[in-house]
Subunit: 189 residues, 2 copies
Amino acid sequence: MDRRQKKTREAIFAAFTTLLAEKGYHQISVQEIIDAADIGRTTFYAHFETKDYLLKDLCEELFGHIIDTAMGLPSGHYHCTCGSAEDSVFLHLLRHLQENDRNILELLSSENNELFLGYFKSNLKKLILSQYAEKGLLKEKSVPEDYLVNHISATFVETVSWWLSRNRKESPEEMTEYFLTLIRPVVEE
Amino acid sequence: MDRRQKKTREAIFAAFTTLLAEKGYHQISVQEIIDAADIGRTTFYAHFETKDYLLKDLCEELFGHIIDTAMGLPSGHYHCTCGSAEDSVFLHLLRHLQENDRNILELLSSENNELFLGYFKSNLKKLILSQYAEKGLLKEKSVPEDYLVNHISATFVETVSWWLSRNRKESPEEMTEYFLTLIRPVVEE
DNA sequence: ATAAAACCGAACAACATGTTTTGTAACAAA
DNA sequence: TTTGTTACAAAACATGTTGTTCGGTTTTAT
């Protein structure tokens, strides 16, 4: 009575993600999701109160996951398992994104990306707060801390967004360098 | 046959703006706008193809206006008519916003602010491009110019957004200082 | 005064949403 | 293997929204 439930939930997520890759969020009707997931109408509403909650749940799962794994890494640096260099958490995030795990990239560059970029940013804030702010790595003291945390998160999101809008021509390493150029004046490296 | 048209257009804009101040964009139905503006259904659709176009037209008018007046000012500085000091264009923008001319502030802090902040940002880019980029005032040369222009615009929008979320406790002068602290490393003052 | 335009109001089809009802299939525990 | 519970399906439903159409009225310019 649980494996079945999980399976349909996944089916809905999958159908929804696929649809999001081809049209805007607001252009997608519940009926389309139902058809694509091949489930009954009742079933959909048994799982999700509304389309907006479906979106919310999906985002929490996706961004919660990607941020949580990054959370496990040490503050400004971490020992990369694939290479030997000490890399920034941000480089790790970009690499993770580039692998397009669970189609996050598709969503972030989809028609309604502001929606997903918003969720991304709010999750990022938690990361910055715990990895930088609470460890005293914020250099700039003449502006409020939460203003600074918000700025760093927003700057990273904008960086990712700019990267995607140009079809990821640059490498994650390059993008990390761009990003660090912008925030180096305010954070300890 | 023209003053009449303009009048109803204004009535629709006014009704729409009022509604936007109290509920989210997607929660507003065309019928509500029609009722609030006290016009016929046919008339609405004669003016705007759809609700989305109404939004677009409204934003173009509002942000186009505020940016255009700022465009008229000299590059990094301008002679303020009210004071005697030379102030940044950004201070001018914040002051203009604080006067809440045409209820722009209401929209920017409304439920769907991402929507309006998006329009705001895209208009800001034009300003930054013409007032800074094209005049060689961008210090940082190690990152692409449009990446930098985007960053400055985004940072300003985030600054405004943060300011609004705290109910404008700070003065425009303070906010300008916060903002300049963040972007001073990359632009000529 | 007259013709063109902008407007109103009501009705319309098409579609979307969320609920309800009735019934079927899966599954876990006895 | 039977039994009771839970998840699902199918269809119908009330409700509300959208954008259009049509007949008729008011405004405005000339």
